[in-house]
């Protein structure tokens, strides 16, 4: 069961770097909406790292 980060949605872009696509958003509401869309598109799961950052992870 290798999990893979497909995308990152965050309100603090300056704290994140790396291989996955990063979506910078402005508000908590936008954060949730973007994550929701990405979840449906990628068939992957949203996990919350902290209040301002969500990662979209594909398990298996």
């Amino acid at each position: 069961m290798a999990a893979q980060i497909m995308a990152i949605v965050t309100m603090e872009k300056e704290n994140i770097a790396g291989g996955a696509p990063i979506f910078a958003v402005k508000s908590p509401d936008e954060l949730q909406k973007t994550a929701f869309t990405l979840e449906k598109i990628l068939d992957a799961m949203v996990h919350q790292i902290n209040e301002k950052t969500l990662v979209i992870v594909r398990h298996r």
Binding site: F36, E39, M45, V46, R58
Partner: protein
């Protein structure tokens, strides 16, 4: 005329008895229940046909032995080969189906089912063999008694144990604490999507399985056993999920300190008592059973 000639053969009646009881045994062991496996009517047909072959093989073995035709017994090895293929066939087809299952059975459950189908064919051979022999030795009533006895023995094999034997099942509250999902005090997973959290609050149902002893603790920790539980519960209660919705996945996690299992379900039928009854009835998979208490190191002053 032909019939008369046929019945003149001393082995025809025993063969018929053996064959009949063989098929009866297979029929008795072949029950399509909520699992809908073997699928009805074609899957059932396949297994009846194989059962007929098995019972024919078992029945014919006896006259060939009695006629001192010992080499004929080698075809029993052919039968064994044949039924190993049954196991392969079951495994392959179930694994293929499992890939598209919303809540998969898991490899261990599939292996268990495949093993069981092979084993049952041997039971059929035994049944027809014993019945034929008894008919040859003690007339027709001997055959009937032996036949009924073997069906009873087959029944003994049929009834496996279920989870209620090794764990106690208690309902527990599903708690969504920020992104963290708990069943009782057992951590299940991190759910980041607000939508999914809402669905889980609405549909989530939790149970805690407490193992009754050390053997149960090790057996229930087997991921294959837990997957079987989730699959069985989801088949019987329905499941609130779809393809590509990994946030809504029934899960069973282990509390490593105590060995308790937190079960998180998303049933369509929101009936706690029914769900509990279903979990209690989940079969214990043969290959997950562990008996650490039988180990010599654990017997000195162990529990």
């Amino acid at each position: 005329m032909l019939l008369k000639e046929l019945f003149a053969n001393e082995y025809v009646i025993p063969l018929i008895f053996g064959f009949t009881f063989g098929i009866l045994t297979r029929l008795y062991l072949l029950r399509t229940d909520y699992r809908q496996y073997p699928t009805y009517p074609h899957g059932t047909m396949i297994h009846l046909a194989l059962g007929a072959i098995a019972s024919g093989l078992g029945a014919v073995a006896v006259p060939s032995l009695l006629k001192e035709n010992y080499t004929a017994v080698t075809f029993l090895s052919l039968a064994a080969q044949q039924f190993r293929d049954v196991r392969n066939m079951e495994r392959t087809s179930l694994q293929a189906v499992d890939e598209t299952e919303l809540v998969p059975r898991g490899k261990t459950y599939i292996e268990g089912i495949a093993q069981l189908f092979e084993g049952r064919n041997y039971l059929v051979i035994l049944s027809s063999m014993v019945t034929t022999l008894a008919t040859v030795l003690y007339n027709w009533w001997g055959g009937v008694i032996a036949g009924i006895l073997t069906v009873l023995i087959a029944r003994l094999f049929k009834s496996g144990k279920n989870l209620a034997h090794i764990v106690s099942v208690d309902h527990a509250e599903v708690r969504v604490d920020g992104p963290d999902l708990y069943v009782g005090d057992i951590y299940i997973m991190n759910v980041g999507s607000r939508d999914a959290q809402q669905v889980i609050r609405e549909y989530g149902m939790g149970f805690i399985l407490t193992p009754k002893n050390m053997n149960a603790n090790v057996t229930i920790s087997h991921p294959g056993q837990r997957q079987a539980l989730l699959h069985d519960a989801s088949t019987q209660l329905g499941v609130y999920t779809d393809e590509g919705e990994p946030s809504l996945t029934p899960l069973a996690k282990r509390d490593m300190k105590t060995g308790r299992i937190g079960v998180f379900l998303l049933p369509l039928i929101q009936d706690k008592e029914q769900a509990k009854a279903i979990i209690c009835k989940v079969p214990i998979l043969e290959s997950t059973v562990r008996m650490p208490s039988e180990a010599p190191v654990n017997q000195r002053g162990g529990n």
